[in-house]
């Protein structure tokens, strides 16, 4: 056992009431009394709010007055306030690591119901900390430089805004988008609530700015495939899918498209949700960024099942002429970049309406999803803004069903937050375009947000019908003559208190938002966590909403949870700011919890070397001993636990410290 050096130990112990949060379930004064008698404790206090300024000043004052050389605070989770108190200790003139924190709120007062038991637990934990802190050593925080470049993953409105913010601050940004163009879901919307300004009008300027910005490297039609390293020094591998067009040479003149051997578009058009058609060579939508066409090898005659066969007349190549932008030989390209911080803005996917068969999506042609309707009412959409049903009719009555794939234990439990508002918007637009009678079927109308409720009022005045009730089913069997040939919704008008059958020509399903299908894979790649519903998990729901548990990786937009455009943009700005903080500081302080070899004891068995995930351990042939590169060590402690001769130690988690904690929680 290593004797601890600093001579006499004088510990100051503080237990926090946290208002009633702790005091209600833990008898703080009693714990303070108990600790006071423990060996090494110079003073022991209970106080209402330790994290408050007076609380911190109290610590500093005591350190000077009572010559404290160790401090223990029993309050909330160290993940919340360890840093606060370390600074306080430092301000008091002590090395910040002569401090240890006890979690008696999240782990005690909040989760137990018996005051006696909770108090005993608090005592045990406090004693463990007191015994542990005696072994603490003075440590220096390690500073690691930050690479100034940033990677933004996802080119929706979140990614676009984050990238622009950083680029305008003079930082180099890599923006990686999976689709052929940036813009994401917002580019598909017709108008945006509650202001009803057209999505394209406000989005496309930002898109072209991104495309033109000297600080932004835009890689569309590309995917991140590998992420190595850690905050400040990430190495990222990006796969650039072949679009069979040389981006630098293509001017976006689209001559190739008009001259394609296919005279008429005949393939389902993804951007228009399959409501429209495109050719094998195409540009997703008029304002696509980058303004570069691409070729779909699955349907282009020059390919067979994606393999080049070179059988087509290639009229497109002729049309392209001197530019020579078309390159059928193009292959997938792998790029490797170094960045210091990463912003994940991979967005959401809409709920698959087929999962609620009772609403007949995919069975009845006139049942649409909300996203389809966005395209249907859009002037540049497949019908040029004419609401023409799949069966060629114009609707005289329309039913909009809210909460499809939301607030439903059998599909997604959560409220998707945007459906109420976009349903109101679609109701307004459909009214405008068709003058049909419109019914909104909602469970609860949720319009929190600046001038959202006012928008609801507007709709009420427009004479849109609102029926509070979740639709039971959509069928095509008629009970009465006026129902013949219509879609019939059976629903309880819960406010009127009876059941109704309502015949309509068109049904719109307000599908909810859910995590991207590959969210789990992405999560693993970036080593971040997901909530139970599958959205990426923020570090703290209130105090660190855009940070993740992995330093240097931030979240923006709906990949973290359903949210509308204003919130998304705000969050994207926040994420960018967080990244800027690191970059402009230029370095990050790392917990000095690295491992080190006790040379005199190392037998040179090499068993630790393969264990290290960061290859921080090497073998010193000369000394025949293992050596640890502390710059590479991340402090997991796996090697420490595995060393057969016990000759590796970890700062902040020394064996003595942990053994004394074990002792502490078990005596008494």
């Amino acid at each position: 056992m290593k004797q601890q050096a600093n001579g006499e130990i004088r510990i100051g112990f503080y237990i926090c009431h946290c208002g009633h949060n702790i005091a209600a379930m833990v008898d703080c004064p009693e714990v303070a009394k108990y600790v006071e008698k423990l060996p090494g404790v110079a003073l022991s206090r209970d106080y209402k709010y330790m994290c408050s300024d007076p609380g911190q000043e109290l610590i500093q004052k005591d350190i000077r007055e009572f010559k404290l050389n160790r401090v223990v605070v029993a309050s909330c989770s160290p993940l919340l306030h360890e840093h606060t108190f370390r600074s306080a200790v430092e301000a008091g003139g002590l090395n910040p690591f002569f401090f240890h924190m006890v979690n008696i709120r999240e782990h005690d007062s909040w989760v137990h119901t018996d005051r006696k038991e909770a108090t005993d637990k608090a005592k045990a934990l406090a004693r463990a900390a007191v015994e542990r802190v005696a072994y603490h050593q003075a440590l220096e925080v390690k500073k690691v430089p930050i690479h100034p470049d940033v990677l933004v993953v996802g080119g929706g409105i979140a990614g676009i805004h984050a990238a622009m913010t950083l680029a305008n601050a003079g930082k180099k940004v890599f923006l990686v988008e999976r689709e052929p163009s940036i813009g994401g879901h917002m580019a598909k919307f017709d108008k945006t609530f509650p202001t009803l300004d057209c999505a394209a009008c406000i989005l496309t300027p930002k898109m072209s700015e991104v495309g033109a910005h000297k600080n932004i490297t835009l890689w569309s039609y590309s995917e991140v495939t590998k992420v190595d390293g850690y905050v400040g020094n990430f190495t990222v591998t990006v796969k650039r899918k072949p679009r069979y067009i040389n981006e630098d040479l293509c001017t976006g003149c689209q001559e190739c498209i008009s001259n394609c051997v296919y005279k008429e578009p005949k393939f389902l058009d993804e951007f228009n949700e399959g409501l429209g058609k495109r050719k094998p060579v195409y540009i997703p939508f008029p304002q696509a960024t980058p303004q570069v066409v691409l070729i779909d090898p699955e349907v282009c005659l020059n390919f067979k099942h994606g393999v080049l066969i070179d059988k087509c007349k290639k009229t497109c190549v002729e049309a392209c002429g001197e530019k020579k932008a078309i390159d059928f030989k193009q292959t997938e390209e792998i790029k490797e970049i170094k960045v210091g911080t990463i912003i994940v803005a991979t967005g959401f996917q809409t709920f698959d309406a087929k999962r609620v068969p009772q609403y007949g999506y995919g069975i009845y042609p006139n049942v649409y999803t909300s996203l389809e309707v966005e395209r249907l009412v859009n002037a540049s959409g497949p019908t040029g803004g004419d609401v023409l049903l799949r069966d060629g009719r114009h609707p005289k009555a329309i039913g909009i069903i809210h909460c499809v794939g939301s607030r439903d234990k059998k599909t997604n439990r959560w409220c998707s937050r945007v459906c109420c508002m976009y349903s109101l918007k679609l109701a307004h637009l459909l009214k405008e375009h068709t003058d049909a009678e419109i019914f909104n079927f909602y469970i609860d109308m949720r319009t929190p947000g600046k001038s959202y409720e006012e928008f609801y009022d507007k709709l009420l005045e427009e004479g849109v019908q609102f029926i509070r009730g979740r639709v039971g089913e959509v069928t095509d069997w008629a009970m009465t003559p006026e129902e013949e040939g219509k879609l019939v919704l059976r629903v309880e008008d819960t406010l009127a208190g009876f059941v109704r059958r309502i015949p309509v020509d068109m049904v719109v399903l307000a599908t909810g938002l859910e995590p991207q299908a590959d969210a789990q894979a992405v999560r693993r790649m970036f080593n971040i966590s997901c909530g139970s519903e599958g959205f990426f998990l923020e570090r703290h729901p209130k105090l660190a909403p855009v940070s993740t548990f992995t330093d240097g990786i931030y979240l923006a937009g709906a990949c973290q949870g359903p949210r509308d455009i204003p919130d998304t943009v705000a969050q994207a700005g926040a994420a960018a700011a967080e990244a800027l903080v690191l970059i402009d500081r230029g370095y990050i302080e790392q917990e000095p919890n690295t491992a080190y070899v006790l040379e005199e004891e190392c037998s040179g068995c090499k068993s630790c070397i393969p264990l290290c995930p960061y290859t921080a351990i090497t073998f010193d042939e000369a000394k025949e001993k293992a050596t640890i590169n502390e710059a590479l060590c991340k402090g997991c402690g796996t090697c420490v636990a595995s060393c057969p001769s016990g000759s590796i130690a970890q700062r902040l988690f020394e064996d003595d410290e942990i053994f004394s904690e074990i002792h502490g929680v078990l005596v008494s």
Partner: protein
Amino acid sequence: MSSTTTKPTSPPAPAVVPWQPRIVAFFCNWCTYTAADLAGVSRLKYASNIRVIRLMCSGRVDPQFILDALARGADGVLIGGCHPGDCHYAEGNYKMLRRFQMLKRMLNDLGIEEQRVRLEWISAAEGEKVKRVVNEMVGQVQKLGRLGIPQKFEEWDKEMEHFAAQVAEKAATSPCACAAPEQPALATA
């Protein structure tokens, strides 16, 4: 490792059982400790018998910690780490798993029931699981009864002294496997 039951299993009512087992837990900083914080923030209620010691990674859990805890009077030990593939340090949890298997075998040889030590993968989002696992574990250990190794040690020590006296020769060393680490020089205030 974790059993998912469809019916809500009511937490074992401590009142029923005369004694409270003492359970030491080693939670990794990134997943399980955070999950326990989440359980707190969500005000979930679970048995208070558990004492959590925070480590950066389950990979840091040295089998000695577990043995030491049992030797000092713990009736059970719970280790919590990130789910396979989610480890903040890539693979610390795998390393722990490997060690854990060997440790279990060793405990069997020592005549200590396997169910007293438990390894669980609990992600930062699984506050509910912390509640479930702790309650299950407490119930399990309550069924097994007290382990009481320190008491055993005392008995053995007595026997040794007795034996020593008989052969009338000072027992220079006590064979006690794990003496407490000597405390540093302390001054009481």
